[in-house]
């Protein structure tokens, strides 16, 4: 029996149905949770914060959503070790809430980007990458205007040293070049596409694994990530 993956619905997010669909594809169960709820549904063993435009992305992406009661509940659960994945707007919310280091600034090209990118798995064994190996290259779409990962140099050094860099944008052959706009289209520092917190149970990434979940959609490379989260929730607290 799978654990329940909670999908918080904060006004303006829009990927919740897609996320639920992808979770069901790997045999998981999910439940939507209203943003005014102060607790996660009982049986919740992992959280997937979907993408979209919470509060219209007004002020800054994620800046208003992070005050939602459900985000406080997620913060408490995360402190107790619950696996949490924030994708796109979900990642932005986690950064704004201080649950993940760094910030997501406007894409360097100043344009919104909806396209496939290649990602290199940097850290395997986390609740969202335990079905993958370091060095695996995945093709997954991005869809954002504010996805340029930014943090002070010391923070980034610390992330690298502590295996907190989850994914990097790369070329199809796995090479990483932060200055190459083809492979690192939003200009993220050191091509960082996803990070985790120090404990490793909270992860954020800009690309949308749920959009790469069926071959008819162009790629299934997102499935191992969704599956990692779903399967880790069956044995809650791995990592």
């Amino acid at each position: 029996m799978s654990g329940l993956v909670a999908i918080p619905i904060i006004p303006g997010v829009n990927c919740e149905h897609d996320v639920a669909h992808a979770i069901s594809l790997v045999g998981g169960e999910s439940a939507f949770v209203h943003h005014m709820e102060a607790t996660l549904p009982s049986g919740t063993q992992a959280v997937y914060i979907p993408g979209g435009f919470s509060y219209g992305d007004y002020l800054r992406a994620g800046a208003i959503a992070r005050f939602a009661p459900i985000v406080a509940a997620i913060g408490r659960a995360a402190a107790d070790g619950m696996p949490v994945l924030g994708v796109c707007n979900g990642f932005q919310i986690l950064c704004e809430a201080g649950l993940l280091p760094g910030a997501l600034a406007r894409n360097v090209g100043l344009r919104f980007l909806c396209q496939d990118v290649h990602l290199r798995v940097e850290t395997a064994g986390t609740p969202v990458t335990h079905r993958l190996k370091a060095g695996n290259v995945l093709r997954i779409p991005i869809n954002h205007g504010e996805g340029c990962y930014t943090a002070p140099t010391e923070t980034i050094d610390r992330l690298e040293a502590g295996n907190q860099v989850l994914l990097r944008y790369c070329r199809p052959d796995g090479t990483v070049d932060p200055d190459d706009r083809e492979s690192n289209p939003n200009g993220s520092l050191r091509s960082i596409a996803g990070v985790t917190n120090e404990a490793g149970n909270v992860a954020g990434m800009m690309p949308h694994p749920e959009r790469a979940s069926e071959s008819i959609l162009g790629s299934v490379d997102g499935l191992p990530i969704v599956e990692s989260l779903v399967k880790v929730s069956t044995t809650a607290g791995v990592a």
Binding site: P11, N14, D18, G56, F112, L113, N143, R211, I216, G218
Partner: protein, 730 residues
């Protein structure tokens, strides 16, 4: 007594006068076009609801219907490109929502003036070429603003924009076109009607507060062209709020699904006036409205302003009194503001009160029905002059020696440029339905979740053809859009049209309009595609100059069942055979090559051989169904030459072709650049060639082996050069 107050002597209040004037405007009443629109074929076994509703509805089996609609937002986009386009998207989505469907896909058809200078030979003798530079920059600014408005609103509201087209021509320099189409798929049993029925039922206004946005917008913006002194129209710029719309969509969908709504109508042009009068006229016949209950964004708005405000992101929903609390709870949960603004009556009157006074008391049908004109028609003198000229006589003879140069130059036309800069800014994947994304095929393909079906959608229209012959232009738009959906394996099942024309008070423009209606009719009847909805945009003129008549046609096709991802447009595998399907005629009138390379726009647009067109469409759909071809791409702007270049660019592999293989009897220029309808380029594994040829034969479609995939050039033009030719410089 001053003239303005004459209406009072006639017994009308200020509010009533304002209401009649917006409702009887061109935009709301279709007063100039209605006498013609009735000729459009709108029946078909699959049509559930046709023109006249907020959106058309087509049955696709399994209890499901496709809801589809197209709208223009030309004038607002000229005044403020970002907000004009953004509010255009917002408006069309509410039309789909009003029917009870979640809008799940959006498409855009855009027209601007030239963003780059035309080749020296193409500069029209206009005399004001000195201003070209600033003008070019302005067109880029408009195009970028419109595209970011669509991106900004569509992405944030959570509706993917999965297809469209962007074309450029000097005719649109002073009047860009921004047409948006949207669709949704719904269970037909949940269809909503725009009716206020049941005496005593409660009228809710849901969504944004009401401000002074676009007061008189429909009459000011949609009913007049542009002159110097546009500033006066500026205060009516409307600002869209996709976040508010997103909440509105979720709240309304839940109201509809839980059966709490007995009728719904979006607030678009003419705002509350239109929504209340139309739902009352279509329902129990009467409504009492209390303006004091309307949440205002600004203090002190007089009744006529509240009644005609076009503030975005609002819906009217009718509920039974016993369901009121439940309905308000739903709205509260989605944080969509809602208030009770009225009651359904059977009085036969629309009665509006403010501060205890009755400010309006009229029969709603008198507002909703509007008036109609049968305006005079006159064939424009230019048409005979233009069609009398033979383009071939004004164009050079292309030879093997010059074809490479001719093709390279043609590929620099902005109309052949890659649109990736635009669609990359659009979320085109939300809802996990997009099987063929923008740039991957001739039409977008969206699977229908929960079934093994898919929809294919294409949007097309060519203004230059309309200048030469509006009837053929309109017909060709239907032909191209239908061919595009066939090319990805679909059978066309319905069409919507957006008629962008000049000033209808000119008999020449009305003639063009009437001809275009006949062209649509001819094409839709011939191809068996009913028109289930449309939109008319008149007064597309600047300083007295009308745009070329530009009908834009959106066609929805059904793929049933979807066998997998259809073949794309690109050449992929070395050694595959390249084939041209369909007969090529001498059709250079209005062609891209004649216009871009030589500035020649004359002669007649291609005439369509309808049985051949139909056969070719059926052939394409069968090819995709059988999975026989490696690539399929229809021939359109620029002819076979451009089509081959596009196939090579899309797949990253060139081809070696024999230019005498598909039309040996006509000149090389016509073989390469003719825009004859009903043709395509295919690449097939050598082993499948005979099967394809056999299939073509059974459909009666001529087909020619013209070469082989391979190499990194086409016509000897290196792919790298083509790549830079199609990379936009704006």
């Amino acid at each position: 007594m001053s003239e303005q107050h004459l209406h009072r002597q006639l017994g009308l209040t200020d509010a009533e006068l304002a209401m009649y004037s917006v409702m009887w405007s061109e935009h709301c009443s279709y007063k100039s076009s209605r006498v013609h629109l009735g000729r459009l074929p709108s029946d078909g076994p699959q049509v559930v609801l046709g023109p006249g509703e907020n959106a058309g509805v087509v049955d696709i089996g399994d209890g499901l219907g496709v809801v589809v609609r197209i709208e223009s937002h030309n004038h607002p986009s000229y005044v403020e490109p970002y907000q004009g386009a953004a509010t255009g998207v917002g408006g069309i989505l509410r039309d789909i929502l009003t029917m009870g469907a979640r809008p799940t896909a959006c498409f855009d058809s855009l027209r601007f003036g030239l963003p780059v200078e035309a080749p020296a030979t193409a500069v029209a003798p206009s005399g004001d070429s000195g201003a070209a530079d600033d003008e070019t920059l302005r067109q880029r600014w408009l195009a970028n603003g419109v595209v970011s408005g669509i991106s900004g609103y569509g992405n944030a509201v959570g509706v993917p924009t999965v297809g469209g087209e962007i074309l450029f021509d000097p005719t649109y320099a002073g009047n860009p076109l921004v047409n948006v189409m949207a669709l949704g798929v719904m269970e037909l049993e949940h269809l909503q009607r725009a009716q206020a029925t049941g005496e005593g039922n409660i009228v809710l206004l849901i969504g944004a507060s009401t401000g002074r946005d676009g007061i008189g917008g429909v009459s000011v913006l949609a009913s007049s062209g542009f002159e110097a002194g546009d500033e006066e129209k500026r205060p009516s710029v409307q600002v869209g709020d996709p976040f508010e719309e997103k909440k509105l969509i979720e709240a309304c969908l839940e109201l509809f699904r839980s059966g709490l709504s007995v009728g719904a109508q979006d607030l678009g042009g003419a705002g509350l006036t239109c929504a209340t009068s139309e739902t009352a006229a279509g329902g129990s016949g009467g409504m009492d409205v209390d303006l004091d209950a309307v949440v205002l964004r600004e203090q002190g708005m007089p009744a006529f302003e509240i009644l005609t405000s076009e503030s975005q992101e609002r819906m009217l929903v009718v509920v039974e009194p016993g369901d009121l609390d439940a309905a308000l709870d739903v709205c509260a949960r989605w944080e969509a503001p809602a208030c009770v603004v009225g009651r359904v009556t059977d009085s036969g009157r629309l009665r509006v009160r403010q501060g205890g006074d009755v400010v309006c008391d009229v029969p709603p049908a008198s507002l909703a029905e509007g008036i109609r004109y049968d305006r005079p028609l006159a064939r424009p003198a230019r048409i005979d002059a233009l069609t009398a000229r033979d383009p071939s006589a004004e164009l050079p003879v292309v030879t093997e020696a010059t074809l490479r140069e001719e093709t390279s130059l043609l590929m620099t036309s902005p109309n052949l440029a890659s649109a990736e800069w635009a669609y990359r800014q659009y979320d085109h994947q939300l809802f996990l339905n997009t099987v063929v994304r923008p740039g991957e095929g001739d039409a977008a393909v969206l699977r229908v979740m929960g079934t093994d079906k898919a929809l294919a959608v294409a949007l097309d229209g060519v203004g230059r053809y309309g200048r030469l012959d509006p009837r053929r232009g309109a017909a060709l738009a239907v032909a191209e859009a239908s061919r595009n959906v066939s090319a990805v394996g679909a059978v066309p099942i319905a069409a919507v049209d957006c008629m962008n024309f000049g000033n209808p008070e000119k008999p020449e423009v009305m003639w063009e309009f009437s001809e275009a209606v006949d062209g649509l009719t001819e094409a839709c009847e011939a191809l068996g595609v009913p028109i289930v909805g449309g939109n008319v945009s008149f007064y597309n003129e600047t300083s007295g100059r009308d745009i070329d008549p530009t009908p834009i046609v959106g066609v929805v096709g059904l793929v049933d069942p979807l066998p997998g991802v259809p073949s794309g447009v690109g050449f992929e595998v070395l050694g595959d055979l390249v084939l041209v399907a369909g007969a090529t005629g001498v059709d250079l009138g209005g062609s891209e090559w004649a216009w871009w390379n030589y500035g020649v726009v004359c002669g007649s647009p291609p005439a369509v051989d309808w049985p051949a067109e139909r056969a070719h469409n059926a052939f394409l759909a069968d090819v995709q169904r059988a999975g026989l071809a490696r690539s399929v791409h229809d021939v359109s702007l620029g002819g076979v030459a451009v089509c081959l270049c596009e196939c090579a660019l899309a797949g990253g592999v060139g081809a070696v072709v024999d230019t005498t293989a598909w039309a040996p009897a006509i000149s090389l220029s016509a073989a390469l650049f003719s825009e004859t309808s009903g043709r395509s380029v295919l690449s097939v594994p050598p082993g499948a060639a005979e099967a394809i040829e056999h299939l073509a034969q059974t459909h009666g479609v001529p087909i020619f082996r013209v070469g082989e995939v391979g190499g990194d050039s086409i016509f000897g033009i290196p792919l790298a050069d083509l790549e830079s030719a199609v990379t936009p410089r704006w």
